[in-house]
Amino acid sequence: MQPHERITAAIRKRVEGGDPALVAFLTAGYPTAEGFLPALEVIAQAADVVEIGVPFSDPMADGMTIQRASQVAIDNGVSLRWIFARLAERDFAASAPLLLMSYLNPLLNFGYEALARRSAEVGVCGYIVPDLPLEECAPLREALEREGVGLVQMVTPATPAPRIRLLCEASRGFVYAVTMTGITGGARGLPAGVAEYLDRVREVSPIPVCAGFGIREAAQVSMIGAHAEGAVVGSALIEVLERDGDPGAFLRGLRGRDA
């Protein structure tokens, strides 16, 4: 199985069990650098897919929570190189497949060939790059795919129908359906029409669809589950880590299970 197919398989397995999949996001090295691997171990047991945020100085698609986490992580010395080194030395087999979420510039600096090779070595199965639209993605996508690593495409409520189809066909692992026009961490709840929008995406997507942005509660996950294969939880999980809470319990709670 190619690395990106592991992501798809993990999501489908959860859906076959009757539940929506959970994709959990954490910023690497936040709130502390030492806490990264322990938090990852717990989160990778509770979630189906883990998205590890590579901190960047200018996170233009992110709200205050992830901006703050990103800056603290940079101050803690976290970089792409650092993340690869920690993943290489981890002594637990992450049950959930891992993705990296990074703005383009850190990847560009690392070099695409080296990035793909290193990703395959340490078990990174895919990438989400919020400032890399389809038209600009060919060099990165080709380099990653030579190692079987997938590039996840995002669709949004503002994306016209023909473009949604193109993005779904180009995506690997899953399709990331942004629930709202806006940045991460919105507290407004899910917008009206999100069910109809997710249905439209799912209808044309050959791979699972996971919805993200603004998801914080079990009721939202369950509602998303009726219209997509999974939900992405980011800022709300970061806030749990910020409070020194239990991320495993929080994620199990989102599935409607008791903590």
């Binding site: 960047f56 100085s57 200018d58 996170p59 233009m60 698609a61 709200g63 205050m64 901006q67 800056q71 940079i74 970089s79 792409l80 190189r81 703005y103 383009l104 510039n105 850190p106 990847l107 560009l108 600096n109 690392f110 919020p130 400032d131 890399l132 639209p133 038209e135 600009e136 495409q153 995002m154 669709v155 949004t156 503002a158 994306t159 016209p160 473009r163 993005l167 942004v178 026009t181 806006g182 940045i183």
Partner: protein, 417 residues
Amino acid sequence: MTIEFTEAEKARLLEDVIAGRVPDERGRFGPFGGRYVPETLVPALERLTEGVHRYLKDPDFLARFHHELATWVGRPTALTHAPNLGRAWGAQVWFKREDLAHTGAHKINNAIGQALLAKMLGAKRVIAETGAGQHGVASAAACARLGLPCTVYMGAVDVERQAPNVDRMRRLGATVHAVQSGDRTLRSAIDEALREWVSDPEGTYYLLGSVVGPHPYPYLVREMHAVIGREAREQMLKAEGALPDAVFACVGGGSNAIGLFHPMVADRDVQLIGVEAGGSGMGLGEHSATLSRGRPGVLQGSYTLLLQDDDGQVQGTHSISAGLDYPGVGPEHALLQQIGRVRYVSASDTEALDALNECCALEGILPALETAHAFAGARAWARDNPGRRLLIGLSGRGDKDMPTLAKHPLEARDAAA
């Protein structure tokens, strides 16, 4: 610094620039430029690109734009001979007087042009970012003129150091949003404006103030400012019967420089020299000299040169002038540098201050601190190249800088009475 062109490639790219084939339909200036934005903004940028192609060739739109430039902005701006400075430098010195444009800087050309475009595209509101406050003031004024609501994002550091402009924006009806995230200067203001635009890509028009950002902005903003170079070229020919030997402009994002340079790129005997902010030193974080010290990377929608560390984190910058305090630069400048058509140098905070004081004392004109960098670059060049004809882009007036200048008082000069 890391992109190497052969001489043949340089020559071909220069031909492309001169023939108007740059940027291409994907917004590429050679390898630079492009469109690196969240998916949410792609349809909005597509609509904007269609609007740009339609209206920038539409005679009715252009007539309205030129009418506003002539009757509201006050174009053409003057070409001023500067004989006193010329004697001091051993050169013939001319100024292109964008400080005389309405609101006191070149920024108004772009602001009124894009506000007209926003109106044609049916925008409900306009957002803009600002560094020195000049683009914020220009946007606020243009929006007031056209009846569009306007919100300006400005880094909290700049709100403090450019206080007079904050008050002007508010009086012109704009809402000023002090940005507390990131480095709290121009770069954070652009990040925040982009975030706001992502939240409402259909109703909001983002009036970007420099030749940076995703396609089509570097092209659109250049077209709005190219009037500076077209006028200056004609005025020089009329006044002197010849073009200048060298043309100087300050470069932060690079809008006034592109406006002045672009119409003279084909005049191969004219040296074009951009002057960046050398700040307080050449260590990381002490300057904003992107073209001299940067490496290629992606920031705020564009592949260009950036000040960044080995991990690709964008670096803090410093300049005494808020308008040059930016770690990126327009992609067209990156290309013009790499093909050797424009040379980029830097001037320090102190050199800029000295040049500002000299221009005040000898020519009776207070240039903006940004502009003063161009003067410092020109003065250094004149020293090495005596007896030549220089044209300096006097991009803005310095009244807004009085709070900063107050921290750098002149030696007591008043005669003891």
